[in-house]
Amino acid sequence: MSIITVERKVLEKNDEIAAVLKKQFSDQRTVVLNLVSSPGSGKTTLLEQTLQALQGQVRMAVVEGDVQTDNDAKRIARYHVPVAQIVTHGACHLDAQLVRDAVSRIDLTGVQLLFIENVGNLVCPASYDLGEQHKIVMVSTTEGDDKPVKYPHMFRAADLCILNKTDLLPYVDFDKHQFRKNAEKINANLLFFEVSAKTGEGLQDWCQWLVDGTQTSGN
């Protein structure tokens, strides 16, 4: 029995493509946000509200990841922004190759903000760099406030956390202080936003953060 040294990263292929994407995005001065959550947290609705609110102010584009359908891309297309759909046919995460193919189908010239809506899943997307500047983890108040404890990898990988459906807080068994404590134990640097994509509550702060982000990136 003898040994051959290999010393190669398991995710090297993904990371190489992600590095190319990162450079492309930064050369174009496009801020890229990778949005992750469980299914049904309201990512698409938040995106719609955001596109509506920042229309005419920020040039935006969307990459929509979905396991089966292109329904979300159709919803997004109504806001007249470039949108590329990725259907993963059952796969539970987006990888850098899929994102590269998707962005090659849209014109990113002048786009200041690119949203990547990941597949609804809080486990697998944690491992995949998509060349984004920020990973954003979204949880809604209809889920448990122990979500960070159940999905520590994602909460550690993210740098921003959005709590959605705050309009339902009076009716659900969700302790938002406990939620925040749980999340901060895993990632003390997380930035928090509380929104209701339905009523528009909290949307202003979120949009302001987005606008600030595009400005510091030089646009």
Partner: protein, 122 residues
């Protein structure tokens, strides 16, 4: 989870690609064991990865190989009091001074370290 989620299959596929390339460069040997180092910060379930590997190598040149995982625990260094410690249960605070300003010193590893080979049976 609503979708069938097996990203361990994709990961096992990556490992197999890397090892197959190594095998091609050493046509005179047979790969018996594949040693992969994996930090606990990597969101992969070891049992699922082993299972995925075994099902993917059926009827390939790697069919007589087995995957060997070395799990690396998460450790950190406190920027406040300079203590070094292990992270249990994903509590990212210094157990000595309670600071959350810490740097992880291990746990993000994820690589194919080496393969154990035997001369090809001729």
């Amino acid at each position: 989870m609503t979708s069938v989620c097996m990203h361990e299959t994709a990961i096992a596929g990556n490992i197999i690609d890397i090892v197959t390339e190594t095998g091609r460069r050493h046509p005179d040997v047979e790969i018996k064991r594949v040693r992969v180092v994996i930090g606990e910060m990597i969101a992969v379930v070891p049992e699922l990865l082993l299972h995925a590997y075994d099902s993917l190598i059926t009827d390939t040149p790697l069919q007589y190989s087995s995957l060997d995982l070395t799990i690396i625990p998460v450790t950190a260094n406190c920027s406040q009091c300079d203590a070094s410690f292990g992270i249990d249960e994903f509590e990212f605070t210094c157990p000595f001074c309670q600071s959350s300003s810490i740097q992880l010193t291990s746990g993000h590893e994820f690589y194919v370290k080496e393969v154990e080979v035997e001369p090809c049976p001729s």
